[in-house]
Amino acid sequence: MSLIGLACFFAVWEVASRTDLVPGYYLRPPSAVLPRVVTLLGETGFQRALVATVLATLIALGIAIAVAVPAGLVLGSVPPVRHAVMTLVEFLRPIPSVALIPLAVVTIGTGPDTKIVLAVFGALWPILFNTMYALDEIDPLHTETARAFGTGGFGVLRRVALPSAAPFVFTGVRLSFAIALAVVVSTELFSGGTVGIGQFVLEASAGGLNMDDVLAGTVIAGLVGLGANFGLEWLHRRLFAWSLPRGGER
């Protein structure tokens, strides 16, 4: 059922490409691109690019979690810090990571650390905000119950605040994965010099209008995001059944 939308998208694409609504030379039909996706996945050169991109995304996500969750906990539970820092956060958050590519290339270079740093910057915000707001949503009766049984401040944070915030934080991580992936691929595409799907697409488009490869690379980037989202959703349902509507019972 959930794949109907995807199938329709490919059908529209096929029709648009075949009926010369758009120049078929540039927008190759899926019937040509999808077989290329399969052969590409078998090529060592592309496999290396794919692994480089996914690895950079995962590292960036890991760093973003390690920074944003503690920061969100502090911002969510210490109002003075929140007041002091929120303006800065709201100033930085709307800046697109892609707009920072020139600055990053000049200051960090064109290695893999550049795309990781930029992806961390993009992926921080959903995790930070979800962690922060999750703390606002904690039921005061949960806190009071824990305190009435002699649980201290740190115990309440560890045994009540963290578990009750965890599903929201996880949702933030899911949103951040897609952002990190997009930033990593964009950085590869714009700055070149580092192995990855983005660079593969860049070279394919520059080399001689090899649009099959360009589109196949793009489709694969989308599939990575799709797969990751499916996986994370499944994990969310398993880990946090209690937080789903009607507790996940059907």
């Binding site: 009766l141 009435a148 115990g155 578990p163 965890a166 209690w242 009607r246």
Partner: protein
């Protein structure tokens, strides 16, 4: 020695729009093993009373002592059962883990045994691995009671514990409370707005005035140890006492639910 001694207890909330005195000059004691019901008009400060006794808020006046020790902060041998079971149980923990929650200081083995005993006492032997949200409201409140009992408190505080369940379940839980407190010799202070419930459950009934609450009557309940939902509730002693409590509450010029 008294289990609980409340002397001149008063609390005034200070907010942006002035002050509100919820309770004022409360005086009463509870003996070990007693079940005392506190009944009062809604909004009279019953919850404030429980929160000051449990050390969750610091009263502005007066003192609370638990077996002779003044309460300053949350006492280590006190349990609370709140009205809203769906919010006081932790949904991410199984029933057993919820009951084990306050037993942090015990060894793992002792925790498991205590939790199993407490769940058996409330008739939930088989439900330990379930999650609270998989149980009915009445069963959830049993879990909350089991959690409070597993802690083996000197004093069990109950804040309108049966106000959110249907009438049939309420009768069952009332009898459950009478049975376990007989078996375990627990001292209970139960707050309710239900006159019948206060008379049916209590060894004594404390009647509070409207806010700021003071004790207007301290009545012994001459119904004996063994009570029955049908015969006790239709006995003359029950009907008389219920009428007296109702009279005391309505003479206090506040809305009585």
């Amino acid at each position: 020695m008294k289990m609980l001694e409340v002397r001149g207890l008063g609390h005034t909330y200070r907010g942006k729009d002035g002050t509100h005195t919820a309770i004022d000059g409360l005086e009463f004691t509870v003996d070990p093993g007693e079940l005392v019901c506190v009944v009062g008009p809604s909004g009279c400060g019953k919850s404030t009373l429980l929160r000051t006794i449990s050390g969750l808020i610091k009263p502005t006046r007066g003192s609370v002592s638990l077996h002779g020790n003044p309460v300053d902060g949350v006492p280590s041998d006190l349990s609370v059962v709140f009205q809203d079971y769906s919010r006081s149980l932790f949904p991410w923990l199984s029933v057993t883990k919820n009951v084990e929650f306050p037993l942090r200081k015990l060894t793992r083995r002792n925790r498991t045994t205590r939790a199993a005993e407490a769940l058996a006492a409330v008739g939930l032997d088989g439900a330990g691995r379930k999650y609270p949200w998989q149980l009915s409201g009445g069963m959830q409140q049993r879990v909350a009671i089991a959690r409070a009992l597993a802690y083996r408190p000197s004093l069990l505080l109950m804040d309108e514990p049966f106000a959110s369940v249907d009438a049939q379940t309420r009768f069952e839980l009332e009898d459950l409370l009478l049975r376990v407190r007989r078996e375990q010799d627990t001292t209970v202070l139960l707050v309710t707005h239900d006159i019948d419930e206060s008379v049916y459950l209590g060894d004594r009934v404390l009647v509070l005035s409207k806010s700021p609450a003071t004790v207007v009557a301290d009545l012994d309940v001459p119904l004996g140890q063994h009570r029955d939902q049908i015969t006790t509730r239709s006995s003359d002693a029950f009907v008389d006492l219920r009428a007296r409590v109702a009279g005391l509450l309505t003479s206090a010029p506040a809305r009585v639910r």
